[in-house]
């Protein structure tokens, strides 16, 4: 964890840059808007404003033609008003309309609509006394410097992508396959502003190219993709070639018996496991053990914490770093998980080592809990980097060393089956092959898997070199505790943004992986 001396307040953008360059709100424009909202509710104690502005350009290509190119922006403004007694009245209002009259009307009527009965002092829980120290967190803070904005991506959004895609379009009509490609570019700016002085602004770009190719009988398929914040680092034609190659290898699919086998998981598969593991690191303990996770910590003495204990193979290291050169993310807490953390969107975040050399180092904690235990606060690791602290092995070497196993190009629909054990389930797709005696033997039917990720990560035979993996437009799996019914997720919220936050993972060879059943889906 960085010390205060190692951090410095750094402007994430040059304030003199002209607004016309940005497809999203610049810092100056976002602050002006936020101050306006704050001023409108000044006599009612308006305390915080959250603004998110994102622009997406998405091109969808299928079977030799461009289906459509979608281009647009989404603006979200949320603000909370405070009450006279110092408690923040939990009024949450959302809008995407920048209309002075409308905003003033809403702010003026907000408190009249929803009132809060203050909790009597004798009824307060002891933890609530910690709210006072938290007030200091609304003051000015310093942030890690990050580099998430690339003008090349913005330029590609402006220029349109047609000039960049003819080869992809031609490839999607080749080789008697059905091909679908998605190309997405995104730019986003976020501002959190609080009356005591905390202001957090960040901007970022991101892009992703994915392609799926299917055989005419709908039974075989291949997939490949790449994600990077800098459009100039992406080669769409390469993506297409790999997807087509896997699809061609997937003709003449045969079924094999499910069961426990050695699995060589490509990065596309490992990434799905790792993303689904994010809630695993939650330290929260409830009264119902079925709702606790494997790392839940006791409220009082009893079950010991697993911090400091060996939980997975010693070659595995997992961390989240805003300054990760392979990915990175905004250096402050973002809206989405704050509801359950008593935390402040906009509060600075630093690198977190989750597992180092197989040892559990940190857990996701409520801000109040972190204060009480005198440990760092850490949010869910929706961005994760997994790497080997030992020798790395290529996929070809893994296959060559495998007598009997399965190569999985990608997983899909991965989700938690049971919170208490964090047992995961999902399915293979877009490339599943039987390995016999060190070689790919044949394409096989897809499986469903059921696995305990911690147990699987204790059966690792080999680890490769990590790469960032795109997720495509797959279903978002939001932990049920985050209550999707209550508050709609922001379009670019932590769980729902697209492209997804960077997940950088290696291929892995895992013995006795549980392929529990055959499935019909191709």
């Amino acid at each position: 964890m960085r010390t205060r001396a190692e951090t410095a307040l750094v402007e994430t953008i040059a304030e003199t840059s002209p607004d016309s360059v940005y497809p999203v709100l610049s810092r100056a424009a976002a602050e002006t808007l936020a101050k306006k909202v704050m001023m409108l509710g000044e006599d009612r104690g308006a305390t915080e404003v959250h603004i998110e502005h994102s622009r997406l350009t998405v091109t969808r290509i299928a079977n030799g033609r461009i289906l459509t190119m979608d281009d647009g922006d989404t603006l979200t403004i949320r603000f909370d008003l405070g009450s006279g007694d110092g408690f923040g009245v939990p009024i949450t209002l959302g809008t995407n309309q920048v209309n002075d009259a409308l905003l003033e009307h809403v702010v003026n009527n907000a408190q009249a609509t929803y009132g809060h009965k203050p909790i009597r002092p004798e009824d307060r829980e002891p933890e609530e006394d910690l709210q006072d120290p938290l007030r200091t967190r609304y003051g000015p803070r310093t942030f890690l410097p990050v580099s998430l904005w690339h003008d090349t991506t913005v330029e590609a959004m402006r220029a349109g992508q047609a000039a960049l895609l003819p080869e992809v379009v031609r490839q999607t009509s080749a080789e008697n396959l059905q091909c679908v490609a998605t190309v997405g570019l995104a730019a986003r700016s976020t501002l959190y502003m609080y009356k005591p002085g905390l202001t957090a602004y960040g901007r970022e770009t991101d892009c992703e190219v994915t392609m799926t190719a299917r055989t005419p009988d709908y039974r075989g398929s291949g997939w490949n993709g790449v994600a990077h914040r800098d459009w100039s680092a992406i080669q769409p034609a390469t993506v297409a070639r790999h997807a087509i190659d896997i699809a061609n290898r997937s003709r003449n699919i045969q079924a094999v018996e499910p069961g426990r086998r050695t699995a060589i998981l490509g990065p596309g598969a490992v990434a799905q496991l790792v993303r689904a593991m994010a809630p695993l690191f939650w330290s929260y303990t409830s009264e119902n053990p079925q709702r606790d996770g494997p790392f839940s910590e006791p409220l009082e003495s009893g079950r010991s914490s697993k911090i400091g204990k060996q939980v997975v193979d010693p070659r595995i290291t997992m961390f989240s770093d805003p300054q990760d050169p392979d990915g990175g993310y905004l250096p402050f807490l973002e809206m989405g998980n704050d509801l359950f953390f008593n935390a402040t969107p906009g509060a600075p975040v630093a690198k977190v080592d989750w597992i180092r050399d197989g040892v559990l180092m940190n857990l996701v904690r409520d801000l109040v809990d972190a204060e009480r235990r005198k440990v760092p606060f850490a949010d869910f690791p929706w961005s994760m980097h997994v790497r080997s602290s030992g020798v790395t092995t290529t996929i070809d070497e893994m296959i060559a060393n495998c007598k009997d196993g399965v190569y999985v190009n990608r997983f899909s629909d991965v989700d938690v089956l049971a919170q208490s054990s964090h047992r995961l389930t999902g399915v293979t797709r877009d490339g599943c092959f039987l390995i016999r005696n060190g070689k790919i033997d044949r394409a096989i039917k897809n499986f469903r898997f059921v696995e305990l990720p911690l147990a699987a990560f204790n059966r690792v035979e080999a680890i490769g070199t990590p790469v960032r993996v795109p997720f495509g437009t797959q279903n978002v799996k939001v932990p049920p505790s985050l209550g999707l019914w209550k508050f709609p997720q922001l379009p670019m919220g932590q769980q729902t943004r697209w492209p997804r936050l960077p997940v950088i993972v290696p291929p892995m060879m895992i013995r006795d992986f549980n392929f529990s059943a055959l499935i019909d889906a191709a």
Binding site: G72, D73, R448
Partner: protein, 553 residues
């Protein structure tokens, strides 16, 4: 429409009635202090004429720039969500939102482009239309494969969801009182907890096209829900949780949650849960069982395995929506597959959830069968891909060629899940038609000699083609000689299903008394928006369903 005063008189009586007749276990502090209606907070400030003017300007700009075709959806929307399970001094939680936006779609030659934004100003919509035309023109230079575009009548007009009480004219305080009354109806019994959620959407949506269609619709959608949970110490580790079936998503106003019959329904659900919870716990062996499922579970299975698969874009491999096990269409359409009791209808007519008069391509909405007596007869399509179905029918020739008119219209299946999303072939509501000669749930159970009853299957884990998955019911019971004998602990039994096999084992469908609903949420849109579909289904009886315990694998 009932006036607010009349509603309050009626609702207040209901609240007083509960207060006098019951002895509440707890006294709830209702901290809502606002007597002002919700629309004081989030007014309807964008008048329909403004939206219509923006729509006209966009179409004119697109045509002037050279669009072959252009359409636009312009919308102003208000949302008020309200709910929770208040205990003691915890207040109800609420969220209010007002949003606007448009989605302008144009075609130039073979190129399509869509531009969207939340900025409802003339400058933005005009520039967006022009930008879309420029992009589409660039696309048409790269792709030359023509896209078919099904014809549709040019329509003009207005429509509004018929409601009695506008929920935005009701204050949060009154909504809290009514929700509390519903919760109290459950909590009058010992150790029963409950949760209530009210979710209201009011929207004005304008559609315009370069063909001349011009439509204004005022839409009201409601997503209320009340669930009860038996939480005595005996059940704490193995809770029984049931939804109140008659409080379900619909296109209606506040009246859908008022009335003393709602509290009766809550009490009935509590009684049902207490009866089920009174059964002793037992151990469940994995294996294959004869199973009777309630309407909620049937709706979940249909929503997981049939509804997504019936999207035509998935079935023909167009786009990134995912796969469908109902493809290729040549091997699926009009092929007898299942029990002839199985009929599924896409129904966006009032009072179904998401009802409207025209869809988001300006096509008139009507209820139409997707599966008719065990045969897939249609898909959810848009004007862009309807031609695939028409071509299939034409190629088949013979007596069916063009005879039945199924594929001359999309039947209003184009849905924009938010104002900024382009339309896609989908639906907001499907109904599995109950059997007129079918049995009640109890009567179906009586027919089972050795099997299971599944209640409230809500959680499922599917796959990319909707071809199967795992599901975890909230309650699973063993049946011996037609009687419920034991229930199984939470987490002990998952159902594992392959979609094709599952529906081939359907023995019978229940009657109208067994109808229940389930909300399917698909979160697959970019930018993110929740795609919420209401599925209604009767109870069902399957010859075989696999029960699986992942802990034993």
């Amino acid at each position: 429409m009932t006036t607010r005063r009349a509603f309050l008189a009626k609702a207040s009586l209901s609240v007083v009635g509960v207060g006098l007749a019951a002895i509440p276990r707890r006294t709830y502090a209702i901290p809502m202090t606002a007597r002002q209606p919700v629309n004081r907070l989030i007014p309807d400030t964008v008048d329909p004429e403004t939206l219509r003017r923006l729509a006209r300007q966009a179409i004119e700009a697109a045509v002037a720039a050279g669009a072959t075709y252009a359409d636009i959806r312009v919308s102003a929307q208000r949302v008020f969500k309200f709910g929770g399970a208040p205990q003691g001094y915890d207040p109800w939680e609420g969220y209010a939102e007002f949003t606007g936006g448009f989605n302008c779609r144009v075609r130039v030659g073979a190129g399509w482009a869509t531009v969207y934004s939340g900025d409802l100003t003339a400058t933005t919509v005009v520039q967006a239309a022009q930008r879309a035309v420029a992009t589409a023109r660039a696309m048409s230079a790269v792709t030359t494969t023509p896209v078919s575009w099904a014809p549709a009548p040019v329509v003009t007009g207005e429509w509004a969801t018929p409601i009695q009480i506008d929920p935005f004219t009701v204050s949060p305080t009154d909504q809290a009182w009514l929700a509390t009354a519903l919760l109290e109806a459950a909590r009058r019994r010992h150790d029963v907890d409950s949760t209530a959620i009210f979710d209201w959407t009011s929207e004005t949506r304008v559609f315009a096209s370069s063909e001349g269609s011009f439509l204004t619709q005022r839409l009201h959608h409601a997503r209320p829900s009340v669930s009860v949970e038996i939480i005595s110490p005996l059940f704490q580790l193995h809770p029984i949780k049931l939804n109140v079936p008659s409080i379900a998503p619909c296109s209606a106003g506040f009246e859908c949650v008022t009335g003393p019959d709602r509290q009766d329904a809550v009490c009935q659900t509590v009684d049902d849960g207490l009866h089920l919870g009174s059964l002793s716990l037992g151990e469940l062996d994995v294996g294959r069982y004869e199973v009777v499922v309630d309407g909620t579970s049937m709706a979940t299975l249909a929503g997981e395995t049939l509804l997504p698969a019936l999207e035509l874009a998935r079935a023909i491999g167009d786009g990134d929506r995912g796969r469908s096990w109902f493809g290729p269409i040549e091997s699926v359409l009009d092929q007898p597959r299942w029990n002839d009791q199985l009929t599924i209808v896409s129904d966006r007519t009032v009072p179904q959830y998401g009802a409207a008069k025209w869809d988001d391509e300006g096509v008139a909405i009507d209820a139409f069968p997707l599966i008719d007596r065990g045969v897939v007869v249609n898909y959810l399509s848009t004007r862009a891909n309807l031609g695939v179905l028409h071509d299939w029918q034409t190629k088949r020739g013979g007596e069916r060629s063009g005879a039945d008119g199924r594929f001359t219209s999309t039947h209003g299946a184009a849905v924009s899940w938010s104002p900024t999303h382009a339309p896609m072939g989908s639906t907001t509501a499907v109904t599995m038609v109950p059997s007129p000669t079918g049995l009640s749930l109890e009567a179906m159970v009586k027919q089972v000699q050795n099997g299971l009853v599944m209640r409230t299957l809500e959680a499922t884990w599917g796959d990319q083609g909707s071809a199967g998955g795992l599901g975890k019911p909230l309650a699973l019971f063993i049946v011996k000689k037609g009687q419920l004998t034991r229930r199984f602990p939470h987490d002990s039994g998952f159902v594992q299903f392959g979609a094709a096999r599952l529906w081939s084992k359907l023995a019978q469908i229940g009657n109208a008394s067994t109808m229940e609903g389930h909300l399917c949420k698909v979160l697959k849109l970019e930018p993110f928006a929740a795609q919420v579909q209401a599925v209604s289904a009767p109870a069902g009886h399957f010859h075989e369903i696999d029960i699986y315990d992942p802990r034993k694998s």
